[in-house]
Symmetry: C2
Subunit: 375 residues, 2 copies
């Protein structure tokens, strides 16, 4: 059974036998003609300024599985696959193999196999099998956090896994960084101090996406790692105190990191929502929050909301603690999951994490390509 | 003459002899105490959850140029420099040495010295003198476009200048890229086709900031470079057709680049405004605009606005054309200034540009640090 075509103002309505229908403006059909894309690069070659806004086909026909349109300005008819038109009808978001339902977690986090703590995956499988790589990418995006275990005894092994995904996001701290206690630190991370829960580099226009921390040595007393899912805190705050939630979504505040070589600044809201209202990003870093510059009348409301969010991140109900062992790597979405650490005593032994970032766009790209290859 | 202190609800009003006054919430004063920042890293060490929202000083005094506050929870009084308090009073944006007034330009662009075309600067001065580097950064940000001339006969010379600013922004095309006609292109840039005006990599969550195109060879017939200031087009569109302008500021559309190794997607509005309503970003790239997925009823309005913007970019009133010579480099804000080229004939000679990007955040950081050093 063929779909049924009817005309509407400026377009074409297609009704499929299963009841689904789509409204296709004539100009969209002209702009989307498969022949209007470059044969090698796949990029759009069709020039929209070459046709009037009111363009309409001079002939419309169905030929097997194809919709065939003739145009007054062109000798070449447009051929559309009707199944493709149905899947790509206006108002439908295109299917995305990188779309993953996120699971918000709290202090009682259990992994996908039911064990206590974050999902764990084996380094050798990720390194060698594309299927294991895709599974790891998906589960890490789902929980915002995973642990890779069994890394070889090689300081570059964690970074090599990150490079399986995409290029490393370079920052003013380099393409990779070593979290150790340093003599002349330009950042709290490079001290032995406790680090309350935060997200990294909120002073950047685009804070880095996924963070990798490969544990090379962890012999010092103290220095446990703590994590908290900002999505869970944001969801509970929205339910408990909608005013505070709204302030954190709408009031932007300044962040700044500066040392002898840099002075990098950005304004951010603590929470960011997408067009559908889902929280997509948490920017929370009290260390590099710059001097608050809001009008004084806006400050009590902001401080109340901000301090409430901060207090929730300190609540054991939201946090998990773990002690990384050499050969383990923790991987987390830095724009979702807050991280921190307990103070440690550098006199008692070496604590050395090697870190890097891969941005969300490259993460999703790799997942799409792997799933494309898997069919 | 001292400033006058008066109490207000939850804070302190300071009135300086010149008539300027500021309202300083008590909690802001506690949070901003200079002693609450790490002595080496400059990061905030003070923990907001350690004091109640209603904290108030137990004693307030002026001592010379300092405001001295004692707190009920601490033995250490806070010392504020009164000049610093005046400059950083709530509601004041902090001074920013990277702030530059942007000059929107059209087809009759004249450089800062009055000559026809973009500002031009000498490569050797930028390479050797920090003052010349700061001047180049400022003028390029002001116009969104400049030409560097007199680069040494070395294919790495342009990139070396870019690295004077900060690290190169890596993308799926690498840290640097060579714009030449290729046999099996994955991008229209790597063909000999004409490239209508566009901004690069609108399919990235953060499209790259400043772009560098160093001309190494330009012996082919054709291949002239064209530029258009998106700020000027946006300003004129806002005046001529506010509805179209509003649609381009508010309706986000999908962009996508995909080849054998990548599939990178982002949704963007064509125009982005800041909180004050100033246009801060243009995302315009018809080649990698993905299949339009808006509801069909939103399409006529979007197509009308988008096609109008596109038509304006083709208007000679907005565009400048130039032919790069070997040893010249064009530098432009890829999120503001659209670029394109005429078709060329690769059989007539080599055309080779070497490109790279440095993001806006790093650009501004370098400008701040250079101006800090210059006093």
């Amino acid at each position: 059974m063929h779909p049924i075509l009817t005309a509407c103002d400026g377009g074409l309505v297609i009704r499929w036998p299963d009841g689904i229908s789509g409204t296709f403006p004539h100009l969209w059909l002209r702009d989307t003609d498969p022949a209007g894309f470059h044969p090698t690069t796949g990029e759009r070659a069709f020039d929209l300024t070459g046709v009037p806004l009111e363009i309409a086909p001079s002939d419309i026909a169905i030929d097997g599985d194809a919709l065939v349109l003739r145009w007054p300005d062109s000798d070449a008819p447009s051929h559309f696959d009707l199944h493709w038109l149905k899947a790509n009808r206006p108002g439908q978001r295109r299917p995305d193999a990188a779309a993953v339902d996120r699971i918000a977690w709290r202090g009682d986090l259990r992994a996908d196999n039911g064990t206590v703590g974050p999902p764990r995956r084996a380094a050798d499988a990720i390194a060698e099998q594309d299927g294991a790589l895709a599974d790891w990418l998906a589960v890490t995006k789902q929980y915002g956090l995973s642990i890779v275990h069994g890394l070889p005894n090689d300081a570059g092994a964690g970074i090599a896994l990150a490079r399986r995904i995409g290029h490393l996001r370079e920052t003013n701290f380099g393409r990779t960084f070593d979290v150790v206690s340093k003599a002349d630190p330009n950042n709290l991370a490079y001290t032995a101090d406790a680090l309350p829960l935060h997200t990294d580099l909120t002073n950047q226009e685009l804070p880095p996406g996924f963070q990798f921390l490969h544990c090379i040595a962890n012999a010092a007393a103290g220095g446990g790692s703590i994590f908290c899912d900002g999505l869970a805190v944001a969801a509970d705050l929205a339910a408990a105190d909608p005013d505070a939630f709204e302030i954190l979504c709408s009031v932007s505040v300044p962040f700044r990191f500066h040392d002898t070589d840099t002075d990098i600044r950005a304004r951010k809201t603590v929470l960011t929502r997408d067009a559908e209202g889902a929280v997509t990003e948490i920017c929370f870093n009290a260390h590099i929050a710059d001097i608050l510059d809001l009008p004084s009348e806006a400050m009590p409301g902001f401080y109340r909301a901000y301090r409430l969010f901060m207090t929730m991140t300190r609540d054991p109900a939201y946090r998990i603690a773990l002690r990384l062992a050499p050969g383990e790597m923790v991987v987390f979405d830095n724009r979702r999951v807050l991280h921190g650490r307990e103070a440690f005593d550098p006199a008692t032994g070496l604590r050395h994490l090697r870190g890097a970032y891969v941005d969300r766009g490259d993460w999703d790209s790799r997942l799409r390509v792997l799933r494309r290859a898997a069919g």
